[in-house]
Symmetry: C2
Subunit: 368 residues, 2 copies
């Protein structure tokens, strides 16, 4: 079952059923415009990450503003986007399950798709799937530029794997995936700059070594909301994979020199209990507001702090006479936008206090 | 969109698409039997908590083994259960939204329902909804027996609120909700026993004061998987609200003298990258395995530890030659069963290595 829609167009925000995922449309559109405006003079393309928004509706708005396509992490996300009209999708991640590779090949009949590899066996599996489907699949090599997660070492190891891909009659070498995930939330700007500077140099060296072998990179992709100005200015990366910029969250807002985007995403919650003057309880706990990157923050409510989450309860500490009323509805800024959006089936688009639209989050839960 | 079913009956477990929620049916059934066997001689009823399993299929198996009904935290969960045939449902939580109260009244035409209150205004809202629906709604008073969340103080404050309920022509006083949530994960048995001993005394005193006012408690409910033997032996509580016992998780397993249930719930994940000998990466990050109560644990794989989660990646530290192969599938014990189950649309029921059934998790995401 899907969640029933928590609102209807025309309602006032305070009539929306809770918990609900509120998208402030003015802020959201300003964020999309700001990113497009930022990247245009750099010549760097935007391939926004759909792991954040999980929605073809959002993807198509990014594409209308110039994004060349979308990134996803999962084949099931790629399916939801392609079925929703997104024409160009990169799985910025490894895929090694034969059934998933077959699904990705099937998808490539309706959208342009590519995936990443960091192992010879993974390349062979992609090759077998492409051969069975009778098509040529585009494969990027993922290099580890500091995140310490997936990826081969930059330099000769990456060149060798790229040559293996380029030498296959069923594959096409698509370029490099060079995302430094752990740099995104380094709080100090200097630390972020240093980490990305190293990533850029490793990527630049690998691109150059590939060129010496006659291999060109259609895509050199990476960067997130925390670091994209650095990659965009590098002269090496040609695609930016930011996702959170459209929404922002408490975690990105805590960065020094935080990215210049507005909070567009909120969870609307209702005060369901006011047991003591210094305590209020809302109906959004960690099922509604995942806590992997810290607690949510009450929006424009000085004196209120979200200090504890159980499955379905959020406890707010009340100070300075800021006590909310029983039944009152509050906006909360999620700690981390990606897993929060992934808990909901609907964006409730609000403009100046009125519900303007509901958008389905079609790739919600698409983990496979 | 719902997640596509990751398996079909008859498949071997290693053929299941990942990440998937695996229910080991032998262990699960043994857990249901063990709880029924434990409570029978105490005379305490089981009203298992559906916030854990989110599924009428599981609820009905608990009821077939003697459970009197189910608890839920949300009206939308109550709907999913009632529509799936569950005949007796307690919303063990406050409900103050008029639309939600109207939905609960509508539901009471097909199932027996009750809810909790901890405020006079909340009682008035329930009364108005019941009057509008032309029925009598059962309301329990929630008392705070140590959790420091919702609930009025035990004793006179609870008695006064109960009298207000009992005096309404549209409501029925249903008893006491006295759950000590924060005691469930006190690691030391002595600490848990002390906390529940205080809760029992406060509840006993309140029940006695209610009796002096001529108010009897059909339900005196509370207890979770971490403490239920104490409440069941108290002579005060008559309903046990445990939910996790059916599945178990890493958090409950870490309690001293952990509850005597088997691990029945796993997330099956695939090794998608083996970038270095000491590191393997699986396709289940914190979207697949929420981390609010700590990381998952690899099951029966000594030498492997799940040490980091990003949105779609879990990183495993490999020691002692335990390296998994690329593409291998591993069972992981979730850190916390409730929010983990709530990420999936399907239980994949496995018995001795074969998929036996798929059960829909109909109340997945029902937060409203």
């Amino acid at each position: 079952m899907l969640q029933p829609p928590p609102a209807e167009p025309g309602m006032r925000e305070e009539e929306v059923d809770t918990p609900a995922l509120i998208l402030d449309l003015d802020a959201f559109e300003a964020n999309l415009d700001a990113m497009a405006g930022y990247l245009a003079p750099t010549g760097t393309r935007l391939r926004a990450h759909a792991k954040t928004h999980k929605s073809p509706v959002v993807a198509l708005q990014q594409i209308r503003r110039g994004a060349v396509g979308q990134c996803v992490q999962k084949v099931a996300e790629a399916e939801a986007l392609a079925w929703g009209g997104v024409p160009d999708i990169l799985v910025s991640n490894e895929v090694v399950a034969p059934r998933k590779l077959a699904r990705l090949c099937a998808l490539s009949r309706i959208s342009r798709v590519a995936l990443c590899a960091d192992h010879y066996e993974a390349v062979t599996l992609a090759e077998q799937a492409a051969e069975a489907a009778g098509l040529r699949l585009s494969v990027l090599v993922e290099i580890d530029v500091g995140a310490g997660r997936c990826g081969v070492a930059p330099g000769p190891e990456a060149v060798a794997l790229a040559s293996r891909i380029a030498g296959s009659p069923h594959l096409r070498f698509g370029g490099l995936q060079a995302y430094h995930g752990s740099a995104q939330h380094i709080r100090a700007s200097e630390g972020r700059a240093a980490a990305i500077s190293r990533a850029v140099e490793q990527t630049r060296r690998t691109v150059e070594q590939l060129r010496q072998q006659g291999l060109s990179c259609e895509i050199v992709g990476g960067a997130g909301t925390g670091t994209f100005p650095l990659e965009a200015a590098s002269g090496v990366y040609n695609e930016i994979q930011a996702g959170s910029y459209a929404f922002m969250d408490a975690d990105y807002a805590a960065n020094e020199a935080a990215p210049p985007f507005r909070h567009a995403l909120f969870v609307l919650a209702q005060v369901m209990s006011v047991p003591r003057p210094e305590l209020a309880v809302v109906d959004a706990g960690h099922k509604a507001l995942p806590t992997d990157s810290g607690f949510a923050r009450p929006w424009q409510r000085p004196g209120l702090a979200y200090v504890g989450a159980s499955d379905e309860h959020g406890t707010l500490r009340v100070a300075g006479g800021a006590a909310p009323k029983l039944g009152e509805k509050l906006r909360l800024v999620p700690g981390h936008c990606d897993p929060t959006i992934d808990r909901y089936d609907w964006f409730v688009g609000v403009r100046q206090g009125r519900v303007e639209c509901l958008w389905p989050i079609l790739a919600r839960g698409m983990m496979q």
